[in-house]
């Protein structure tokens, strides 16, 4: 049984249809990436899974249970954490307070998890008392991912972790994402930077105007001439 199964979802912003029957599967332990151009429906797919924009039709099955229509704030206790687009860290809280917010729904000891986040992102430990909003974009991205990990999710949704970051930093962040996956967290990754995304992903889905047009193991997608031309910047 897959960890996450999305079956033919249709989502709307008002009257405008953003998703026209997206289906995808994420097996436990995988890194699955959604690639595609602006407006293809990548973020909308994540939002539909996460309950921010419940799909009008179709099913989202997580861990054997249908979760479409469950509000966003119930997702974390089910085991889905997300690092949203634009990071959305609490910029007036300190790094520590942000991480504590990530474990808000938990009542057990969180020190171990905080240590784990600091192992992954030593930079955050240095900045533990700093206001999150005063950190650089890269550090804020690290914090957003770290905060999501604090809930010990079964599935981590990452939306555009490379956005607004310098290329060196993008490499670094993606190395860490791979590390998180190797430690046992399943990841669904939405990314415009298809190059780096396909480098760490197990499988990939290509989205175009609200539908899946291609899906294959990441290695295969990287060699697909159409994908290379459209998303990997090769002519």
């Amino acid at each position: 049984m897959p960890l996450l199964e999305v079956e033919n979802i249709h989502s709307f912003y008002g009257h405008i249809q953003a998703l026209r029957g997206v289906s995808l599967v994420v097996e436990e332990g995988e890194v699955v990436t959604l690639i595609g151009s602006n407006g293809a429906g990548k973020t909308t797919t994540l939002r539909s899974i996460h309950g921010v924009l419940p799909p009008k039709e179709g099913k989202v099955i997580f861990d054997g249970e249908e979760i479409q229509g469950t509000p966003a704030h119930d997702m974390i206790s089910r085991g889905i954490a997300q690092s949203p687009e634009g990071r959305k860290i609490f910029s007036r809280m300190t790094v520590r307070e942000n991480l504590e917010m990530g474990a808000y729904h938990r009542t057990d000891d969180i020190r171990e998890d905080m240590e784990r986040v600091f192992d992954l992102f030593p930079r955050l430990k240095e900045r533990i008392k700093q206001e999150a909003g005063t950190m650089s974009g890269g550090e804020q991205q690290m914090l957003a991912i770290g905060r999501a990990l604090m809930s010990r999710p079964k599935l981590l949704l990452l939306d555009e972790p490379s956005m607004g970051l310098a290329p060196v930093l993008v490499e670094r962040i993606f190395q860490i994402i791979r590390e998180i996956n190797e430690q046992g967290t399943t990841i669904l990754l939405v990314e415009q930077n298809a190059n780096v995304a396909l480098e760490i992903a197990t499988r990939g889905y290509v989205l175009e105007t609200g539908t899946v047009v291609n899906s294959a193991p990441a290695e295969k997608l990287r060699q697909d001439p159409k994908v290379r031309e459209a998303y990997l910047g090769e002519i």
Partner: protein
Amino acid sequence: MSAANATGRGASPLKRFGLPALLIALALLFPFLDDGLGLGLMFPVIVIAVYVMLALGLNIVIGFAGLLDLGFVAFYALGAYVVGWFASGHFNQVSISFLSTARSISGGSPAGIHISFWILLIVAGAFTALCGIIIGAPTLRLRGDYLAIVTLGFGEIIPRFFQNGDNLGGFNLTNGTIGIKSIDSPGISILPDSLSTWQRFGTLDLNPWYYTILLLVLITVYVNIRLRDSRLGRAWVSVREDETAAAAMGINPVTTKLWAYALGAMFGGVAGAFYGAFIKSIFPTSFSFNISILVLCMVILGGMGNIYGVILGAIALQGINFYLLPQINDWVHAIGESLGSPLLAGADIPKYNFFIFGIILVLMMLLRPEGIIPNRQRQEELHDDSDAGGDALGGTVRA
């Protein structure tokens, strides 16, 4: 390095407990001071304390949860009317007494509903909290300005309802503009006769009133502090910063805001209940929109979210109202008379109080928008330009 320290509040024990203890001691001794020096300030100080309580209630809504509530007076009025209904002769069709100090002249049980003030304090708090939930549940889905508009309407509707509620299908609920009069005094009837002023609170010795409202204010302060440092307090900060992100952390934004609204309403209601009993007669006109704005000004002036700041704001504004303006009025009159100017001699300075508050607010917004004693996070929210730098490597993409 505890979590509390990381938030920057962990001051030395002297600062944490010394100052509050000193202030409480001063407050406890105030009646003796007032009596000894012959200040005659007991009445205004009690009313100021009611406003401190109101401001602390509104602080939960505005300061902690960041919800702009322009109709807070509604809860104050509802609380006062609870006491009006259940501790006076208003409903003279019935005669119900429960642990009340009220006695009829003939010695029998008096007409109307007479329930102990202490029970009514709790009833008023529960009732207004419930009203807060009923009003809040549909409206707290709105954000920002829309919420302000709805609460503004609510603050107007409630006093209107009390004004026109003297004939609800033939039933006189509120006695209209005449209001509800001769509200029972609180009292603790089980006390021995040597403490007769506490058996039934009178109008000559205001000490029992003073200590009652002081206790209520201290409870409010304590609850404010505990809430600020609680899980719920954290949730409020996060919802204030970013609702979407808060939801991703597993926080239900609507229920979180509803808690703030209901708790704020509760303190407003209890303050109203005390005020109703203290002032003994309540009229719809005592609960005008001005009060919502006045309490809002107190919270903003003192520093949204900072408990000491809000207390100071309430004392400062009501101090100006009760003490400074009449004082200035006297001075202006004296100057007018010595100069022979009828304009100055007859000027009515207290009439301009809202004009003066307006100037104070504008100056505060220009010079110190975070209030006299700011809340740390609030201060940063209002000085947002300081962190626009970021570093060259990461850029500064911010939602």
